[in-house]
């Protein structure tokens, strides 16, 4: 992000929720995936594979999230706005904002989206906020339009996919959103690099090949030969790639897209309206 190699991020909510523990300097431990979970549960310890922490970490992070929600508007907002707000509050309150993706993204005006806004402790706390009578909600359609507007504006598009899942399609679908739904032809993404342990043969989207994406107009056919799938663990492959890029490539000017979203949305809307009028 700092060197301008990342323009925007689509993440699961869980990755962003647990990112806040770092910014708030909460205590987490490296454990072992073979521990006795019944004993852990009795002792109030939460396990994510081999990471352990007290359930108080959840309760305190929840309290921080809910405190932040009070200064957000009482209407549907994009998740980019929610995440920017959380990041800004972490920059203010956080003891260690340098360790947080949310905080750094806010510092550099880099928008972060989630494709499943209700699916994580962030969403769970906004849901409680709603039970309290507030009208704040998250608008997944605003996210679809913002990500499509970013892709529409760019001259070349591409993605690094860590894993797969819902965020993978949420990025790739911006191309069919242009040609299939909005009637604006663009022709597909230019770059595609996925790090995954999933495989095509189970038939799911996470393991689907870049080739399959070509048939959907998600990837440009003439770019297919340069698409790359790294089969392995992101926690091994990404640090290697990042170290390489940071050492070999010149930093690029940061795009600060969060500050330009309104403008990009207007461009997209205009292109859509122009095409709509032109059609019989």
């Amino acid at each position: 992000m700092e060197y301008g190699f990342v323009d925007f991020i689509i993440s699961t909510g869980a990755n962003l929720y647990h990112d806040m523990h770092y910014a708030l300097a909460m205590v987490m431990h490296r454990g072992d995936f073979r521990l006795d979970d019944t004993k852990l549960q009795q002792e109030g310890v939460i396990r994510i594979y081999d990471i352990l922490f007290a359930d108080k970490v959840l309760l305190d992070t929840d309290a921080f999230v809910r405190e932040c929600l009070n200064s957000l508007p009482n209407r549907p907002i994009a998740t980019s706005e929610l995440h920017h707000h959380l990041g800004t509050q972490l920059l203010k309150a956080g003891v260690k904002p340098a360790y947080s993706v949310l905080a750094q993204a806010a510092a550099w005006n880099l928008p972060i989206y989630t494709s499943s806004p209700g699916d994580s402790s962030i969403g769970m706390n906004v849901a409680r906020h709603a039970l309290d009578g507030n009208l704040l909600t998250l608008d997944p359609l605003a996210d679809v339009n913002e990500t499509t507007a970013i892709v529409h504006h760019a001259t070349r598009n591409g993605v690094i996919i860590l894993g797969g899942g819902s965020p993978k399609n949420f990025y790739l679908q911006t191309q069919p959103q242009l040609w299939e739904v909005l009637g604006i032809h663009k022709g597909g993404h230019d770059y595609f690099l996925q790090i995954t342990a999933d495989a095509p043969h189970w038939g799911g989207l996470s393991g689907a090949t870049p080739s399959e994406a070509v048939s959907w107009g998600k990837i440009k056919p003439d770019q297919l030969r340069s698409t790359v799938v790294i089969y392995g663990d992101s926690t091994i492959a990404l640090p290697l790639l990042t170290a390489y890029v940071v050492n070999k490539a010149q930093p690029r000017p940061r795009k600060e897209l969060f500050a330009k979203l309104e403008e990009l949305l207007k461009e997209l809307k205009d292109a859509y309206m122009t095409g709509k009028e032109a059609r019989p």
Copy 2:
């Protein structure tokens, strides 16, 4: 669904979008995952693993979805409401509603949720609807509260998970939503049966064991020994299980939860408010 063995469904949007092709009697073909995708793209053929269809299938389904949106209210709604409306329209318009999950669910008042409402051609068309100036949007927090209300009301809870991904957690999180976020203790789910080809060792949620879910209070510890993970393909395992259940078990009265959501939400809200007042 017909025999009362399914109370509600959490699905990806894509499964529900492509379900509509069946209800609308559109033509789909069984092909081969080894076909040349560049050639397919040139000929306007879309591929999902080994399923093929003309891109017109997408465009016509999109038109059907957008037509349906016009009779929905101009405000945030739960995805259960969207899916019930689509199912109802498929029952009216559909040539083959018996082949459609959405249509059958609407017929039996069975609510269907998606954890990632913007991630699919359904969401993409609602996003275009928004660009057209409508205020209809999908409210993921309403979905969190509705699913939690259903789980809160029940005496015993459990799930059959096909694959994993975002829908897996969206169901499981209803328990931490009760104890962690709303302060209502419930103790975890009673049943857990997952059919997956994913594995715990990659560290992701799709492959995470029921045991890990115990540490989160998502599964009751004393039920852990009876949790089951079937490693394999849902398209092989689910028909076997379904044939077994339909032949061996007596049908149960259908719960028709879609008609009772308001009542269940009220129960949840009351329990939350009561607990809130009781705390210091």
Copy 3:
């Protein structure tokens, strides 16, 4: 085997060793893969995934194997001869020979090979037999020539592969053995059905596609479209396939290849010698 659908088998040694427990009516238990192995080891319990048995089962089966070795010749033999001998002894001594692959194969003169004769408790006991001063050993090259002779004699060849590993290649290599090494052209196998959970993208032989085998002359190119890979667990897929075949197909006359090996080897040798003389 009984219905003539199996002509010969290539197995790991471990599958054949543990098969003997059934014929000898030893006690085995279904357990759980999550048991504490340190405790099991202290209590003399052996675990294979979720199967448990006392270490006495190993010691008694070992004693049975070594007793059988005494009536075998004092020279190198093919593993088909070893396995036929073990099967014959199980038929005589075994309490439940109907539950044993080795015993049934012996009854029907069906040859069984292993591609890794030293790798299992069978091989380990033959190795002890050698330490005792005997000259009996297993001759993997005799196995190569016998399996190649069987394939050479047949008009159409094919295989059902459960899993992958060394036995997969040991069958497939009979075709390159003909054209690449012996100079007898045959053109590849006609059928290929693999049940596996492994995947091509790791680059190993177990997960390699039938297509890759075409480049090696292991599979006939014009048969490629009808090759099948079932991604899943053999313990689920094989019973389904077997039930289907036994119910739908007419039994075939059993080939009793074990009684014809000498004749087939002579045919192979003649074809090899004829070709050798013809070459410059």
Copy 4:
């Protein structure tokens, strides 16, 4: 090998066969696993995942192997003797012996075994040699006794496993060979590091956990916590580990075990005979 970090190797035959192409400076190409195999076969090109070479590479390597066989004795030999002989010939004849595992192992008296001696083009050519009337064969039981003798002699034992398959068990079984078959108690291996993409849940040996090996007495129970499984691709993980070790650790004196096999075998035999006499 050069720095004394490797004492002996258990490999598939295929890895050793294709290793010879490098020593003989044959031409191999990096291609793509998505190439058309029917076309490759027509043009005489062999594919191993993304590696391509002319079928002449096979024929020339076969001729080299067969030439080497002529100077081997006319009786059963261990695969360590075959591989040492091939390596020695590569050192003499090879244009690039520094690129060959077989050649370097021969130079440093490091024994190499294969658990499946008939399963590869090396075995296939020895099988042709047998059809020509020679009595040379490979003795898998000699390999069992040699590897067991090496483990028996050592004070601490351990292994780095790349992948899994038959070589994995061939190493691990040396411990049950001691206690279960030969009646010499040793207590299990001390180290276990496996790099694999396979998983425990399919129930196979390749993916089996170090924990399962404890129940078999293959791994010492008190060493279990320090066993490591790296889930990923050996071609990524092994170079990282190797670079680390070569840079951080002092070289160790090479053991040159190939020159000491007779002595170690005598030790094993003595221990076995002593124990045998001691038992009732």
